[in-house]
């Protein structure tokens, strides 16, 4: 028994020593929020030639939520993080220790399309939501919401609470909110969902004559809320201007799901610590 214990302890020690390189990680990594259907190795490999060979980052490192990614950047575990421009600006306005890194023109850039993801069987609802989004674009409502819930919030104003209209006997549109992406989707001090996305859905619900119910869920579980039927829709972000990114990003959309028209577009933005040399440079 003693010999077995000693052998096991030696094996454990060897394993620990051999694991150190893997556990140490690569601190030139670029943080990104976990994508549902593609892992960081596959995505990093897919865009190595077109992207990582041109920027001072080695590969992606996925994080399940924004908080852990910010903590990783602040602690030096990653060299930068990729966000949409609105969340990036919100971060800079609330936490002064970060800055935006703008690579030079040789590096491909792309825009992110914000939309909603629904189950395939709800195609009719998806179409109604898409039509409503287009109508809101046309009559200026989306621009007004953007100014109130994104632009003004980034400059430090507190957004108004989102009011939901109630329709007796109407169908309920259940939307999962994670609180993980201010100013798009977050929670007020009172614990109420606020942000551009919630204001958008409230307006969509009003125009469709549907009651809206927000379901608070951890970021890691938003996919399962949709597939299990707990929610009818979740917020979704995907790359526009595909080019070399197409294969990697399109593969992220889960099977049996459909996407609405995009309601907003934002630039793919890189954030680095304010003390990073990249913050003062636009070149590799």
């Amino acid at each position: 028994m003693k010999k077995v214990t000693v052998v096991m302890l030696i094996a454990l020690l060897i394993f620990s020593v051999l694991s150190v390189p893997a556990l140490a990680g690569d601190q030139g990594e670029l943080g990104r929020l976990t994508k549902l259907n593609v892992d960081e190795d596959t995505l990093s490999e897919a865009i190595t030639e077109s992207y990582f060979d041109l920027v001072p980052f080695s590969r992606y490192r996925f994080f399940d939520n924004l908080n852990s990614m910010i903590a990783a950047l602040a602690s030096g575990r990653i060299a930068g993080m990729a966000l949409d421009e609105y969340t990036a600006q919100y971060l800079l306005s609330r936490a002064g220790e970060f800055a935006i890194y703008t690579p030079d023109e040789t590096v491909p850039s792309y825009n992110l399309n914000f939309s909603m993801l629904l189950r395939e069987e709800d195609a009719a609802l998806c179409n109604r939501i898409s039509e409503t989004i287009e109508a809101m674009k046309a009559d200026g409502t989306l621009d007004a919401l953007k100014k109130q819930y994104i632009d003004d919030v980034i400059t430090g104003e507190d957004p108004e609470a989102v009011t939901l209209e109630r329709f007796d006997g109407a169908q309920t549109l259940k939307v999962a909110v994670t609180g993980d992406r201010p100013p798009m989707d977050y929670f007020s001090e009172a614990g109420e969902p606020i942000g551009f996305n919630t204001a958008l859905v409230a307006e969509i619900g009003k125009r469709l004559g549907m009651n809206v119910e927000f379901i608070s869920i951890d970021t890691g579980a938003r996919g399962i809320t949709l597939t299990s039927g707990l929610s009818d829709a979740i917020f979704w972000m995907e790359a526009g201007d595909y080019g070399n990114w197409a294969k990697a990003d399109v593969e992220d959309q889960p099977e049996n799901t459909i996407v609405t028209s995009p309601y907003l577009t934002g630039a793919y933005t890189l954030v680095v610590p304010a003390s990073s040399p990249l913050a003062e440079s636009n070149e590799k």
């Binding site: 869920i217 579980a221 039927g229």
Partner: protein, 225 residues
């Protein structure tokens, strides 16, 4: 932003402390209910585990093995999105059931270990003196079992409180979820998480304190007797 300003933004601005306390209350409720249910169920499973009937004993062994060997988050997801998906049970109730099942397996095992460690000679002596089986268990075996099991049970309670931090996956806004939401809103994840950890630590040390107090009172009563 100075530390004071950050703390103000996290804890005071907009009465966010009320929301944090609300999340803490949810954590306490789920933990307390799961503990009570889990302890009662665990005692019952322990009883089955010590029966002579091999089928009954086998069932209890499998029950304990599965629940102790499964990550509690997986169990919670399975029950919420699978087993009870169409049962109409509130998320909090599913969470209580999940943690009660998990706790019951741990309690069953710690009670069984404590039973084995109790002095059988004393029980035999009590029976020889004419005590009934129930009186022997109640007056001789049980006090020893409780004394032996107490430290491990205390750890089980503290672990339970920490396990409840995953209920955000099933739409429940507990302390951890509120802390995460606050960190996202204020963009101060590290400081907010430290505050959250301190609250959990305080809760754990209240549990330790209660057990220490009960020991103190018991010793006092024994000395007085």
């Amino acid at each position: 932003m100075s530390l004071g300003e950050k703390l103000h933004t996290i804890l005071i601005k907009g009465d966010s402390w009320k929301t944090i306390l609300g999340g803490l209350w949810v954590t306490i409720q789920i933990s307390a209910l799961a503990l009570v249910l889990g302890t009662v169920l665990g005692a019952a499973i322990c009883l089955l585990r010590t029966r002579k009937n091999p089928i009954v004993r086998g069932f209890a062994s499998v029950y304990i093995a599965i629940l102790r060997g499964s990550p509690v988050l997986m169990l919670l997801l399975l029950l919420y999105y699978g087993v009870f998906a169409r049962a109409g049970l509130a998320p909090v109730m599913v969470a209580v059931i999940t943690f009660a099942l998990n706790v019951s397996a741990h309690v069953a095992e710690l009670l069984r270990s404590a039973l084995e460690a109790a002095d059988k000679g004393q029980a035999e002596a009590a029976r020889t003196l004419g005590f009934s089986a129930w009186d022997t268990f109640r007056l001789v075996t049980l006090p020893q079992v409780l004394r032996i099991a107490k430290p491990v049970y205390q750890s089980t309670i503290v672990n339970l409180i920490q396990w409840t931090s995953v209920v955000g996956y099933v739409t429940i806004t507990d302390l951890t979820r509120v802390i995460n939401n606050t960190a996202s809103r204020t963009m101060q994840p590290l400081l907010t998480i430290i505050i959250g950890m301190l609250i959990y630590l305080a809760l754990s040390y209240i549990i330790f304190g209660l057990f220490a107090l009960s020991d103190k009172l018991k010793n006092k009563a024994r000395a007085a007797a």
